[in-house]
Symmetry: C2
Subunit: 336 residues, 2 copies
Amino acid sequence: METVTIKLLAERLKLSTATISKALGDSHEISEVTKKRVFDLAKELNYVPNAYASSLRKNKSKTIAVLIPEVADSFFSIALNGIEEVAIEKGYHTLIYLTHEKLEREKAILSELLYGRVDGALMSVSSETDSFEHIEDFGKKLPVVFFDRVASAPATAKITTNDFECGYLATKHLIEAGCKRIVMLSISKSLSIISERSSGFQKAVADHQLDPATCEVVNCIGEGKTVHTTLTTILQGNNRPDGIIATVERLTTDIYLVCQQLGLQIPGDVKVVCFSNQASAVILNPSLTTITQPAFEMGRAAAKALLKRLKNPYLNLEEESEVIPSVLTVRNSTGG
Amino acid sequence: METVTIKLLAERLKLSTATISKALGDSHEISEVTKKRVFDLAKELNYVPNAYASSLRKNKSKTIAVLIPEVADSFFSIALNGIEEVAIEKGYHTLIYLTHEKLEREKAILSELLYGRVDGALMSVSSETDSFEHIEDFGKKLPVVFFDRVASAPATAKITTNDFECGYLATKHLIEAGCKRIVMLSISKSLSIISERSSGFQKAVADHQLDPATCEVVNCIGEGKTVHTTLTTILQGNNRPDGIIATVERLTTDIYLVCQQLGLQIPGDVKVVCFSNQASAVILNPSLTTITQPAFEMGRAAAKALLKRLKNPYLNLEEESEVIPSVLTVRNSTGG
DNA sequence: AACATTTACTTAATCGTTTACGTAAATAAA
DNA sequence: TTTATTTACGTAAACGATTAAGTAAATGTT
């Protein structure tokens, strides 16, 4: 099967490759008659432009990179959905990279992407990320847009949700439901979203005169067993918390399981609220009070900002920043 | 910031671009001394090869495409995880495309990918896909590997799970739990996995002398409201089913909700088993009996097969087909 | 009629990397 | 010592598309 290139079309039509290229680009330099001949033959032979030749020449790849910590988290998969939708709409392609919460991966990926493969990147930093040089280096060459988990540098568009308010709101909700000893489960010491949420948490604790000593932010780093063990330790103490705020979705299952195993009733003994986009929150036992982030919209907004910038290099990305509010949905896990 | 190219390295080291290129490729034609000089300078200047130039010249992009119906389904997001892991390991990049269960999208994506952008594709066909010419056309140019939802053509590696047995097993399990009127919820008339699962279903029904008239496969196509309405209709009839098998994860929430709304007890009035990879199955109310597919392994196997083929063009992909069994985990939704 | 402009092309260079082929010097084989 | 081989590089042509610059003919202007 012979590869259909511009050269082939040119030969068949007794035209130069330049004419073909311009005709396909619908240039005003080419007559309508010729354009039609070119379009027709291109269609007939099923011509598809070679993306790499074009990218090399134009120094544009029509491709963006998405760096996320993991994909098996509803927030990220839904956000990815939003990103992909915008990308496809504008004729862009989406490369996906999972950092698995590792700073090393993040660095390796960004440095490899520096030349030629993508026109820009969307990212949500890993939970290990506490320095930003690698991102700044990337940012000097190509535009980056952060969503959800942002870095303090470089200065660019940041699509976030109202994490501080949500931390405050979740805490306030628990306090009003009668909780005195609230624990917020964190997964990182450096993550922007976590520090925002915990600031909100601490402010709510202070505002309502709870004892800050019994209301702490606890790290729940690791996977599987580790989380389970940490939670068991937290929940079996004498002075165990009567309220839990999970800052990430994947902690939900372990919280419920540990409570079950320790014979703790939700919401009787412990009230639970999770930052989660799981559709199943409503059918859990008991149904789960959640803070639902606008994952899809955040993905869309981030992609839109990046693509806007790619269209207009003079765009100041910082001004494209957006804060899209999350929603607290009260269900039975914090009820009666 | 000057772009660091092979040409630049060549000038700095007073060597030809050919020598630099070969040195970077660790060619035997180049002396160790020269190689070291090249490597050192490349590292110092932070040289990153231009992927497009290389791809154009070598006619290889080190990129694979992943076409999946959606990503907000645990199966696909976990499979994607497996794919990405293998890809990164072998130095490949992963483009992601969501078909949103639309045949049109699938066609458009594949035809655009025909030249240059990727070296091959992994796909799970959309639920609308009932003809395969577009995939065959792609397959003539580039290798494809199917996972989970396979097409009958072209002949290539198919990474599946034991859908027939699982359909049989799920049904048998419900029958042994006392169900007489079992409904299997489908989402497509053409999907390979569905026809396999429903064949298993029908065989189990026949083997156990249940009335095939009351044990049917019902289409539950559409999203949100539509599914809810369909389920309500099914479950409120006089002769309503006492057993449900959901062939896809996303039906779970609606099943539970409709049962709640109609005052039907699970498992008392209706027993439920779902094909699902949701971690939350265990904390649902009641906990959900599932058939869990080896999503991660399937993703890995599919990616491995494709990359193996890319390394060895003579590899017969058909022989790389694999069937990785799923696991039935019995929980409370089919108990008592 | 003389000159200017527009139209519709072509020529050739370019993007950065790879590679077939060429070559001069060093080493080995006869 | 002469010829063959190996080593270590360089030259230049690709890969396919784009585009600045050039050109000849057609059309417009005064």
